[in-house]
C-alpha cells in the first residue's frame, strides 16, 4: 500500500504554555473517512487548528506529513492551496464581503498557487448554483456577506458549500454537527457524503456519534487527554454512544 495521505507522528502541541496534544499518532489514507471523537477538552479542536496552521498553537515535537510534504512548515494559505480544508467549528463573520466574491477569490487564489487558470465569474456561478441546489441552500447565500447574520446551521452549511466548491484533498470537519437540528444535520451529511471519493480523505471531528450515522466512518479514533487512546471501526463509535467517555477521562 502506498503512503497514507496524512501521517501524524508523535505530535505534541501547547497553547499558552499548556501542553494539549501529548503525542498524537494517526494515519489517514486517501479515500478514507476517519472519525476523531473525544470528550470536551481532549484536544480535538487543537488538533484541527494545528493541522490548519492557526497562530497561537506551538508545536513542540513530532511531525505531520501530508502528501509527502512537511505540513507544519507551510503557511496556512499554502496548506489550503495543496488541498487542506478546514470546516470551522465557529465560522467567522466578514461583514461587507459577499459570499460569492469570497469563495471565488479563494478558489482562484488556490488555483493560481497551483499554476491553474482562473475560473471566470460565469463558470463559477454555474458551479455555485449547482452546488447550492445539492445542499438545499438558497441562491441568496451567494449575495449575503460571509457568515454575517447567518444562523448557526447556515454557517455550517456555508462551510460545506465552500468545501464542495474548493474540492480539497484533505477536509477536516471540526464539530460540524454541533448546534444542528436533525434536518440540517441530514443536509450537511449529504454534502459530506457527496465529497467521498478514492482521492480524498475526510477527518470528521465530533463529540457525538450521531453524525456518524449519516457519514459512516472507515475508522474511529478516540482522543483523550491529548493522545489517541483507542482506535477501531464504526463499532467503537456505537460503543462510546452507549458507555460514554467515562473510561477515557482522567481519574
Amino acid at each position: 500500500m502506498s503512503e497514507p495521505l496524512l501521517t501524524i507522528r508523535n505530535l505534541r502541541a501547547s497553547v499558552d504554555d499548556k501542553e494539549v496534544l501529548k503525542g498524537i499518532d494517526l494515519s489517514v489514507a486517501a479515500g478514507e473517512v476517519a472519525a476523531i471523537m473525544g470528550p470536551n477538552g481532549s484536544g480535538k479542536s487543537t488538533l484541527s487548528n494545528v493541522l490548519a496552521g492557526r497562530d497561537g498553537y506551538e508545536v513542540t515535537d513530532g511531525e505531520v506529513r501530508y502528501d509527502g510534504q512537511d505540513l507544519l512548515a507551510m503557511e496556512p494559505e499554502e496548506r489550503a492551496a495543496t488541498g487542506v480544508f478546514m470546516a470551522f467549528q465557529y465560522p467567522v463573520e466578514i461583514p461587507g464581503v459577499v459570499n460569492a466574491t469570497f469563495t471565488r477569490t479563494a478558489l482562484n487564489a488556490q488555483r493560481k498557487a497551483r499554476d491553474e487558470s482562473a475560473i471566470d465569474a460565469i463558470d463559477f456561478l454555474k458551479r455555485a448554483r449547482a452546488t447550492l441546489a445539492r445542499l438545499e441552500m438558497d441562491e441568496d447565500f451567494l449575495r449575503r456577506d460571509v457568515n454575517a447574520g447567518f444562523s448557526g446551521g447556515e454557517k455550517k452549511r456555508n462551510e460545506i458549500f465552500q468545501m464542495a466548491m474548493l474540492e480539497p484533498r484533505l477536509a477536516i470537519l471540526d464539530e460540524t454537527d454541533s448546534g444542528l437540528d436533525i434536518d440540517a444535520l441530514r443536509i450537511v451529511a449529504t454534502g459530506v457524503n457527496a465529497m467521498r471519493n478514492p482521492e480524498r480523505a475526510l477527518v470528521v471531528i465530533t463529540h457525538y456519534q450521531r453524525l456518524l450515522e449519516y457519514v459512516v466512518p472507515d475508522s474511529v479514533h478516540v482522543l483523550a487527554d491529548g493522545r489517541i487512546a483507542r482506535s477501531g471501526d464504526r463499532e467503537l463509535a456505537l460503543e462510546l454512544e452507549r458507555a460514554g467517555y467515562a473510561a477515557f477521562q482522567p481519574a
Binding site: 490548519a52 496552521g53 492557526r54 497562530d55 497561537g56 503557511e75 496556512p76 494559505e77 496548506r79 489550503a80 492551496a81 480544508f85 478546514m86 470551522f88 465560522p91 467567522v92 466578514i94 461583514p95 461587507g96 464581503v97 466574491t101 469570497f102 469563495t103 477569490t105 479563494a106 478558489l107 487564489a109 488556490q110 498557487a113 456577506d145 460571509v146 465552500q162 474548493l166
Partner: protein, 492 residues
C-alpha cells in the same frame, strides 16, 4: 482596452510604490515666488479677467491677510509651519500665443501624461472603448491650468456648460458672478481666503432647468511643477429639476518637498435638483519616513438651496501626506437631503483629519453620514464631523455611522463628532466603533487560500463596501484596487 481599465491595470502592476510619481518634462511659465497684491494682479492679468473678479480676488487677499495666524489649528494633524511666501502661486504649461483651440494643439507631452494617468482625454479613445465602459466628459487641470475639456459639443446641445472656470468667467460672467463665493465666502477660512485670492483654474458646470446631464462629468487634477501650490476652484450649479454626477481624480509626482493643494469646491442645488460629487484622491502621500507628499487643505461645501434638492458627497481618500477636508452640506430647502460617504486610508506617516458638516436649516431635511477610516503603519486618522439642527429645522433627521479599522499598533484612529440639536422634533443618531481586523477573520481567509495581503485587502474592501457602492461603477473598481495598494506593507 479602455483607458480606465488601463489605469486599473497599471495600478495592479504597481508594487506598492506610488505609481503616479513621474514628472512630465514640459516648459512652464511661473509667477515670481511669494504672495502679495502684485501676484494677485499678475494672476488676474494672465487670465485676462474682468475688473470685478480682480476686485473680488483682492478683497479675498486682504481677508487672508486678516486671517494670518488664523490657520486652523484644531485639526489633529501636525506639520511644520508653511511659509506662504516661499511658494509659487501660478505655474502653467507654456504655450505659444493663445490657449489651445482644440486637443490637437495641446502639447503632446501633456497628452502623454494623461495617458499615463489613464485619463480618457481623447474622445476617440473613449468612443473606441467597450460599450458601457463609460461616457465621461473630462476636464483636465495640469498644475494650475485647465488644459483640455472633452465632449463640450455634445453637452452644449443639452445646454450643459462644462468648461474651465476661467472660460466661464469670460463666456458666462453672469452665472459665475452670481454663484462664485455664494457657498464658500472669500473669508470663510484661512485656506479658502487664500484660494479665493490666487485660484487659477478649475471646472465650471451649469446644468439648466430640468436637464439630466447625459454623462458623468470628470476632472483630473495633476500637480507637476516643483515648488508650486495648486489652487483650483470648482463651481457646480444644478438648476431646478436638473441632475448631474461629477467625478474628480487627483495625482501628483513624487517629490521630496511638500506641496500645497488648497482647493475650493462650491455646489449649488436649486429646487428639485440633485448633485452627486465623487472624489478619488490619490495625491502623493510622501514616503515611509514622512518625507514629501501633498498637503491637501480643501474646502468643499454644497448648498441645497431649493426644496427637495439633494447633494451627495462620496470620497475615497488614499493619498496626501496631510488631509484637511470636510465636504459639507447646507440643508436650506425644505425636505432637502445631504449625504456624505467617505473612505479614508492613512498609512505610512499620513495624517488625515476629515469628515463633514451637515447644517439642517429647512424643515424635514435629512442627512446621512457613513465614514470608514482605516489606519495602518504610522498613520493617524480623525473623523471630525458636525451635525447641527437649527431652531427652525423641525422634523430634521440625521443618521451617522463612523467606523474605524486599525491595522497594527503604531497607528491611530480617532472619532470626534459634534452634535448640536436646537429643535425638539429632530432625530439625530450617531454610532461609532473602533476595532481591528480580527485574527479569526485573517485566519479564516488564509485557510481558504488567500495570502495575508489579499486577506486584508478583502476584509478592508468589505469594511468599506457601503461607501464604495456609492461610487460610479468605473470609479468603484479603481477605488477598490487603490485601497489594496495603499495598504500594501501594512500587514507584518
Amino acid at each position: 482596452m479602455t483607458p480606465l481599465r488601463e489605469t486599473v491595470e497599471t495600478v495592479e502592476r504597481a508594487s506598492g510604490e506610488y505609481r503616479y510619481g513621474f514628472v512630465t518634462d514640459i516648459e512652464t511659465e511661473r509667477a515670481p515666488t511669494g504672495l502679495n497684491e502684485e501676484i494677485v494682479r499678475f494672476i488676474s492679468a494672465k487670465k485676462e479677467e474682468p475688473e470685478w473678479l480682480l476686485e473680488w480676488r483682492l478683497k479675498a487677499f486682504r481677508m487672508w491677510l486678516g486671517l494670518e495666524d488664523r490657520e486652523p489649528r484644531w485639526a489633529n494633524v501636525h506639520f511644520p509651519k508653511i511659509d506662504f511666501q516661499e511658494a509659487c502661486y501660478y505655474a502653467a504649461p507654456k504655450q505659444e500665443g493663445d490657449g489651445p483651440a482644440s486637443l490637437d494643439e495641446v502639447d503632446p507631452e501633456l497628452l502623454r501624461t494623461y495617458e499615463k494617468l489613464g485619463i480618457p482625454l481623447r474622445e476617440q479613445e473613449v468612443l473606441a472603448g467597450v460599450a458601457g465602459a463609460g461616457n465621461v466628459a473630462v476636464d483636465a487641470v495640469f498644475d494650475s491650468v485647465s488644459v483640455a475639456t472633452t465632449f463640450k459639443d455634445k453637452l452644449a446641445e443639452m445646454g450643459v456648460i462644462f468648461c474651465p472656470i476661467s472660460e466661464a468667467v469670460r463666456d458666462h460672467p453672469e452665472l459665475v458672478r452670481k454663484y462664485l463665493g455664494s457657498v464658500v465666502p472669500q473669508g470663510d477660512n484661512f485656506y479658502a481666503a487664500l484660494n479665493s485670492a490666487v485660484f487659477s483654474d478649475g471646472s465650471f458646470v451649469y446644468v439648466p432647468k430640468g436637464v439630466q446631464c447625459p454623462m458623468e462629468l470628470s476632472t483630473y487634477f495633476r500637480i507637476n511643477a516643483q515648488g508650486t501650490g495648486q489652487f483650483e476652484r470648482t463651481l457646480i450649479i444644478a438648476d431646478e429639476g436638473s441632475r448631474v454626477s461629477y467625478l474628480e481624480g487627483c495625482t501628483a509626482p513624487q517629490r521630496d518637498e511638500n506641496q500645497l493643494h488648497a482647493a475650493v469646491v462650491e455646489l449649488v442645488a436649486l429646487k428639485d435638483a440633485e448633485i452627486k460629487y465623487s472624489t478619488v484622491q490619490n495625491w502623493y502621500p510622501g514616503d515611509a519616513e514622512g518625507k514629501g507628499g501633498i498637503y491637501n487643505f480643501v474646502t468643499k461645501r454644497g448648498a441645497c438651496r431649493g426644496a427637495d434638492s439633494k447633494i451627495s458627497w462620496t470620497q475615497v481618500e488614499t493619498g496626501s501626506a496631510i488631509t484637511w477636508k470636510y465636504p459639507s452640506v447646507l440643508l436650506q430647502g425644505d425636505r432637502s437631503i445631504g449625504e456624505f460617504y467617505s473612505v479614508a486610508i492613512s498609512n505610512l506617516r499620513q495624517q488625515a483629519d476629515t469628515g463633514t458638516k451637515m447644517i439642517h436649516l429647512g424643515r424635514d431635511t435629512r442627512s446621512t453620514i457613513i465614514s470608514k477610516g482605516i489606519s495602518a503603519g504610522r498613520g493617524q486618522q480623525t473623523y471630525r464631523g458636525l451635525v447641527r439642527v437649527q431652531p427652525k429645522a423641525g422634523g430634521a433627521r440625521n443618521f451617522t455611522q463612523c467606523d474605524s479599522l486599525l491595522i497594527g499598533d503604531t497607528c491611530g484612529g480617532h472619532t470626534v463628532p459634534y452634535i448640536d440639536v436646537r429643535h425638539p422634533g429632530a432625530e439625530v443618531a450617531h454610532e461609532a466603533t473602533t476595532s481591528r481586523i480580527s485574527d479569526a477573520q485573517l485566519f479564516y481567509c488564509r485557510q481558504r487560500g488567500l495570502d495575508p495581503e489579499e486577506a486584508v485587502s478583502m476584509i478592508v474592501n468589505g469594511f468599506c463596501r457601503d461607501v464604495l457602492q456609492q461610487l460610479p461603477m468605473e470609479f468603484a473598481v479603481e477605488a477598490q484596487k487603490l485601497l489594496g495598494i495603499s495598504l500594501e506593507g501594512a500587514v507584518g
